[in-house]
Structure formats: C-alpha cells, structure tokens
Symmetry: C2
Subunit: 229 residues, 2 copies
C-alpha cells in the first residue's frame, strides 16, 4: 500500500518514531524501510546524506517528494490520506486549535529533554558546567509539570485513554508520545508525574505504538538519568 | 473581521511576526492587539502569563481557543479561513510536500540564528566559551548556505519573486521570512548570500510584510553581528 515510500530510521529516535506511528495509523504498511545505527554513525552515511543533506534521521520519501522533517511528514501524510485509517486532525475547531497548540508545544518538550539526556553528546567536555546541567534539569522538570497539568483527568484503563487534544487520538499524541516514552525510558518517576505515567501506560498498548516500539528498547534496560527530575 | 481574536506581541520577534503576516494574508484585520516590550520584561507580565503560562510572545487567542504556538496558529488560521485571502497551502502534492519540508526546516534556521544572536542572553557569563561562539557561528553559516541553495533561481524583481515552495507565496514563506529578515537586520552580507538577499529584498515589498514590519526596526539602525558569518 505504501510501496512508493522509503524510510531510513533509527531506533528510539522520537522524530523517526512519530512518522512510523502515523504510517501505522493511516494503514500505510509495506513501505521500504531500513533501520540504521546512530552509534555506528550510519546517519552520516552517504545513503542518508543523499536523501537528507542534514545527516539526520528520519530520511523519508514519498515517491520523489522529500519529507525528512518529521512534523512535516506527519502533516503531509494526514493531508494526503485523510479518509484512510485513523482521522488524526479533529473537525471540531476547539479540538483542532488545541491539537495544533499541543503539537507545537511538543517541540519545546523534545528540546528540554534533549538538553538533559544529550548534554554530554552536545556539549564538548571543556564547555560543560554543573550549573548548566542543573538548569537544564530544572527546565525539563518545569516543562513536564506543564504537561502533567494538561492531562486533567488520568487515563482510567487502557480502554479508556485520555488524549492530549480532545476525546480521540490525534496528531498531537502521535508527535508527543515518543518524547513521553523517552523520559520514562530514562527513568522518570511515575509517582511524581502520575497523569503522565497513566498516559504513557495507556498509549503504549495502542497497536500503532506497540508495532513501532523501538527494537533496541526491547533488548536493553532503561536508564535512571531522570529519576530525580 | 477578526474582532474575536487577540494578539499580544513583541516587535521583531519572528514567532509574533509569522502570525501577523498570516493574519494579513488571510484578510483578518481588526483583531485586538497590544505591542509589548521584551526589554521591559512585559512578556513576563500577569497579562501575558494569564494567556500564555510559558511567558512568551505571541500570546494569541481566537475566541476562547489558545494558539500561542506560532506554527500552530498559522496552520489553524489557514485551515479555518481556507477560502479567504491568499491560499497558503498549495494543492499540488509536490509543492505541498516541499512547503511542509521547508516550513519545518525553518525551526532549525531560527534555532541556529538564536544561538548566535542571543548567546549572551541565553548563556550565563560564567558558562560562556569562545569555542561555543565560534561553533554556533559555523553552524549558522552552514545552515544559511543550505537555504541559499534552496533558492535555485534568484528573485528577478519585486514583481517576479521566488518563493520557498513552488511558484506562489505559501506558509513556508510566512514562517521563514521573519528569520531571513532577522539575519539581514543583524548584518548578514548580501554579497555572500546573493539569493537570500534577493529573496529578502523581494519579499519585503509584499503588502502583508510591509504592513507588519517591526516598528522598532524603523526607528533604530541594525547591527553588524553577522557581518562575517
């Protein structure tokens, strides 16, 4: 069904995962795909650079069209396959506004998270400061508290999930969930963020998410970097 | 025509400017608005915090709906006023894909720019490093070269502009132009980036952009921070 699409991806990468969730939700299985390793620097390989000169994953094509930017890819797929699979943009203007608002707040969440988890990767050793690490952790904590507040009611059961914008799963969930999964993978304490934890537990049972669960996460234990955030 | 909308904004802020350009393009004049001063910390005032708990501008409402995220606001306005004013999302799938791709690459451009221009504002004095300043400038330069390459043909005249995605002005231009204007405001050399310079010169004559030109830019000279980038 999606033989004209090609996805180069890395395990656990929220931008890659977003696109994969949307492909599942839109019943776009059967696309060409290749799992690459960030550790082996395969995202800087010639194969990736030819599709994405930024040397980032995902590298994604629909026919001849380049859609490497994960948010752009998700919006494009929903637009082109409106009536196929899950409807990911609500009709109701209020829900739609909330969906766009939460979707783009997700950028800040992903950024705050990366500043903590990838600090050593992003900042050369001679430029690292404990004060920056502390500030980054505080900013992530403040950000997570905002999201905890957005989930006004907790998910009751895996059959009665709460979502980020309205009563149904939407693009906001597709793009933000990978970041939420990431913080729990890195040890976030569910007792401190009970609504986020319930949201996470609920959505991880969703078929599109189960099917695209990062393969490396199944084989290795998580970390506890965020235990005290 | 847009009396149910309220915008709190700051002069020169690309996120604010994006929303204002789209409001003009969609013929949504007459909204309630208030210009606030970043210097006076008015973006942290109670008035802003009540609309945008992140203490950022824009703070934007359509009726009771909150759309503080500028990308979200632009997409929402285009969606709700599809047939009014300029059509900002092309129909042709190829142009649409390119529009989404460029639109979200614009996030990286804005980020690279802010890392250079706001370095001293963002990084406490004790954590500043010349090596980081140098790296940030190199990253901005590499980013600008990508965009220079995207503009395969230069704008010929103000009546024959080139755009970022296809033959017409689109959401990609509305969200990215403020960053391009910003780098020239901060002294980017047009001789080094001739296509970006032509794009800038061309689009600044566009009515929606002229009308929303940052008022503080009219009164004060630019800076030369980016002269050698």
């Amino acid at each position: 069904m999606a033989q004209n699409m090609t996805l180069l991806w890395g395990s656990g990468s929220p931008p890659c995962w977003r696109v994969m969730i949307v492909l599942e939700e839109k019943n776009l299985q059967g696309y060409n795909q290749k799992l690459l390793s960030f550790e082996k620097q395969e995202h800087k390989s010639q194969e990736v650079m030819a599709m994405n000169p930024r040397g980032q994953l995902p590298a994604f094509k629909v026919g001849n069209y380049t859609l490497n930017e994960s948010y752009g890819a998700c919006l494009y797929l929903e637009d082109q396959f409106k009536c196929q699979g899950t409807k990911l943009i609500p009709d109701c203007p209020g829900e739609k506004a909330k969906m766009f608002q939460r979707m783009f707040e997700g950028f800040t969440l992903a950024d705050r998270m990366a500043n903590v988890i990838y600090y050593d990767y992003k900042v050369p050793e001679a430029e690292r400061h404990d004060s920056a690490v502390k500030r980054n952790r505080e900013m992530l904590s403040a950000e997570l508290k905002l999201w905890e507040g957005y989930l006004t009611k907790g998910c009751e059961s895996s059959k009665d999930c709460c979502y980020l914008a309205g009563k149904d799963f939407s693009l906001a969930d597709a793009v933000v969930f990978p970041s939420i999964a990431y913080v729990f993978r890195f040890g976030l304490c569910g007792l401190k963020y009970p609504k986020l934890a319930a949201y996470y537990e609920c959505l991880k049972e969703r078929p599109s998410i189960k099917k695209t669960w990062p393969p490396t996460w199944k084989e290795t234990p998580g970390q506890d970097l965020l235990k005290t955030v």
